[in-house]
Each structure stands twice: as C-alpha cells, then as structure tokens.
Symmetry: C2
Subunit: 211 residues, 2 copies
DNA sequence: CGCAATTTTGCAGCCAGTGCAAATTTGCAT
DNA sequence: ATGCAAATTTGCACTGGCTGCAAAATTGCG
C-alpha cells in the first residue's frame, strides 16, 4: 500500500484540517504561556492561528478544550497495544508494557509538553479538567482489558476487575508524571514509572522500596 | 426566634449563608434532573432559590460549580480519620478504614446523591469535571499519608509511595461507586468497596475473585 | 435606636458559544 | 483545464455566562 510517495495520510483537505488544529493548539499554548490563560481570548488565538474566531469553535467545543484535549490519540494507541499483547502476560503486565511503550514515544516531543504543563500548572481550573478527561478514557480501556481477558463473550459491561485495573493504571501513570515533573532533573521518568508499577504489583505493602 | 440553644454553628449571618448555599444546590439539582442541565439557566436556579442571579455568582465561580463542588467536606473528614488511625494499621489499611467509615455516612443521605448522580450521568461534561475535582483532592490526602508514615520530619513534598497510595485509593472509591451505580439493586455497596480493596492488597493478580 | 459591617441587588458591559446562510476552497469527473 | 458537488470557512445576530461597581437592604452590636 505505498503507491503514494510522501502522503502520510489522506488528502489535502484532511491535512489542512490537521494543520489548522495544530496551529490553534500551538497558538493557544504559546499565548497562554506568555500572558496567562485568563488573558487570552478566542479572538487572539484565532488571529494568531490565521483563522476567524468562528472557526475556532468548529474545532473545539469550548475555549478550554484547546488546552485539555491532548491525550486522545495516545489513549487510542494504548488500547491497540493492550489488545495486541501476548497472552502469556497478566493483565497488569500487559497494561504496563503498553503504557511504557506509549510514554517512551511521548518523551520525544518533550518540548511542547513542557510548555503545556507550565500552562496547566498556572491554572488549577484547567488542570482539574485535564485530569478528568484522562480518567474518563478509562471506560474504553476497561472495555479492552475485559475483552482481552474474556474467552470471547462480548459482555456489555466490563467486570469490576477490568474497570479497577484500567482506572488504577491510568492513575499510576498520572502519579508518575506528576512526581517526575517535580524532580525533573533528578530522576529518569522510566525509573519512576516502573517503581510505581512495582508498588502496585506488590499490593502497596508500605513506603519501603519494593525492589 | 429566641432560643440560641440549637445554634450548631456561628451567628444568624453564617446560618443564612449556608441556607442560601444549600438552596442553590438543591434548586440546581432538581431543575437539572427535570429539564436537563443545559436547559437550566442561572436565572432559573436563582429564582427557584429565591435570590437574584447576581447572588448566585457570590457563591459559585461558575454555573457548573454548583454541580461539581460537593465532596469537599467528605474529603476533609477522611483526612482527619487517616491521621487518627491506630499506628498498627498499614497505610493501605488505614486509608481503607477511613474511607469505609465516610462512605457509610454518605450512604445515609442517599436521596440527594442519587438525584445528583443522575444529573451527572446525563452530562459527561460535568462528570469529567467532578472526577477531576475528586482527583485533585489527592494532594491533601497524600500529605496526610506521608505525615502519618514519617517519623516527624515535615517533608515539603510527599514521597512517591504516599502520592501513589492517595491517588489509587481515591480511584478505587470512584470505581466502586461507578460499578455500584450500574448494578444498584443487585449488590450492597460495601461489598463492592471491600472487593476492590482486596484486589489492590493482592497486587491485582487477575480477574479471579481474590476472596 | 442608631451605627458599622456584611450581604444582596441592579446595571452596564465583555466575552464565550451557537445557528444559519453566504462565500470560499477542495476533490473529482469530464 | 473546467465546471460541479461537497466540505470548510466566515460573518452576523443573538443568548447567556460572568464580572466590577456602587446603591440598597440586612444583620450584629452597643
């Protein structure tokens, strides 16, 4: 399937849409980092991105969404990785591997993420919304985990264990990220990540290092 | 009105403030349950509560906050209970006990909570915000857990284990509540709650019942 | 009762967010 | 290339969320 040389995806239309989306996000983050989120209007963002204010709302349902809707693609990739995991792995191990792989990817782009994190740190309001969105993704993750474990019966509602594992996994990643953000220069992120999952696998016995 | 004997707290001024606050919350929840959140304006809420629209914003920073800011007092009580827990309990056990006690309390009021849950179910937007607020409380909980475990040194930043335990504990409660909401008539909430914590204590080994 | 502090309210106004229809751009078949 | 259909962008008008400010009402206290 390679007939097209550099066409990574779709037609010109779709590419332009993605470009506009990215331009809006970047403009919003940069303006917010400089002037503070509350002092950045939709009009300013749109102008910096070269579109009309009305167009902004064709891409985001609210002004805040431009700062909040970032992890959507990551979460889809994690779901695929969980489904593709070798069946010898326990559910917790499969999830651990899938998340580790995705996080290694994200660590590349690093720069935009750092700026974005700074913006969120300055507005608890947005931070809270972001956390909420991350957690809301669990439902989809729980579905995938339940599907992987079950023999094939398409259960309409994931069982308690799958829901718990999805939620705890997402929470573990968030804690690892937050902890690492505070001590960015002291620790390697992946070390923090694996320490967190070691704690979980051991049943959270106590503050002692489980290794 | 002359008897000051039943004055549970403060003067008339403070009581009236609490009354207004409660009236706004109740009016908002009832109106939202009936007409849908998006069809309930601040004007309607204020009118039902018997105050002016402007006054609404003296109590809540945004319209959505009236649906989102409910668990604040619960979380303070849980923190106190964790600090008061006997030191023979492991951190996970102490947290489990504190949360179980608080949840038993909340189950009494049941009625308003059920209505409120229904409203949130109808608006993913608010559900996400609520989850975010719950999770944001963890920082305070992590402080308390770290303080309980440490010999006395007031660390400025809770250690990784305390943060993880606080976050996972809050997540576990949320999962238990959500799971129970779906099967409200089949299961007793406390059974779900303890099953979740059994999974955690066992290190999430697999979907099999750990009991 | 009268004074000081607090709370409520109305008002004027900015900005977020939406529906609609016209204008513009893109994909594609001819 | 050219014209047509579909998708996208844009302007416009309008509702409603949200804020600052100062006047009016309410409460606490001597």
């Amino acid at each position: 399937m390679q007939g097209e040389k550099t066409a990574v995806e779709g037609g010109l239309r779709e590419r332009k849409k993605r470009a506009t989306h990215a331009a809006l996000v970047e403009a919003a983050v940069r303006l917010a980092a400089e002037h503070g989120v509350e002092n950045v209007t939709v009009e300013a963002i749109s102008e910096a991105a070269g579109v009309s204010p009305r167009t902004f709302f064709n891409y985001f349902a609210s002004r805040d969404d431009v700062y909040v809707m970032l992890g959507a693609e990551s979460s889809a990739r994690i779901r695929r990785a969980v489904l593709a995991a070798p069946s010898v792995l326990s559910p917790l191990e499969a999830l651990r591997e899938a998340m580790a792989a995705e996080l290694a990817e994200v660590e590349q782009q690093h720069e935009l993420w750092a700026l974005h994190a700074e913006v969120l740190r300055g507005s608890p309001h947005l931070l809270v919304r972001s956390i909420g969105v991350l957690m809301a993704d669990e439902i989809g993750l729980a579905d995938v985990l339940a599907e992987r474990s079950s023999t094939g019966g398409a259960s309409t509602v994931p069982d308690l264990y799958a829901r718990l594992l999805a939620a705890v996994g997402a929470t573990a990643v968030r804690v690892a990220v937050e902890h690492w953000c505070v001590r960015q220069d002291e620790l390697a992120f992946m070390d923090v990540f694996h320490e967190v999952f070691d704690h979980l696998a051991a049943g959270l016995p106590g503050p002692r290092d489980p290794s």
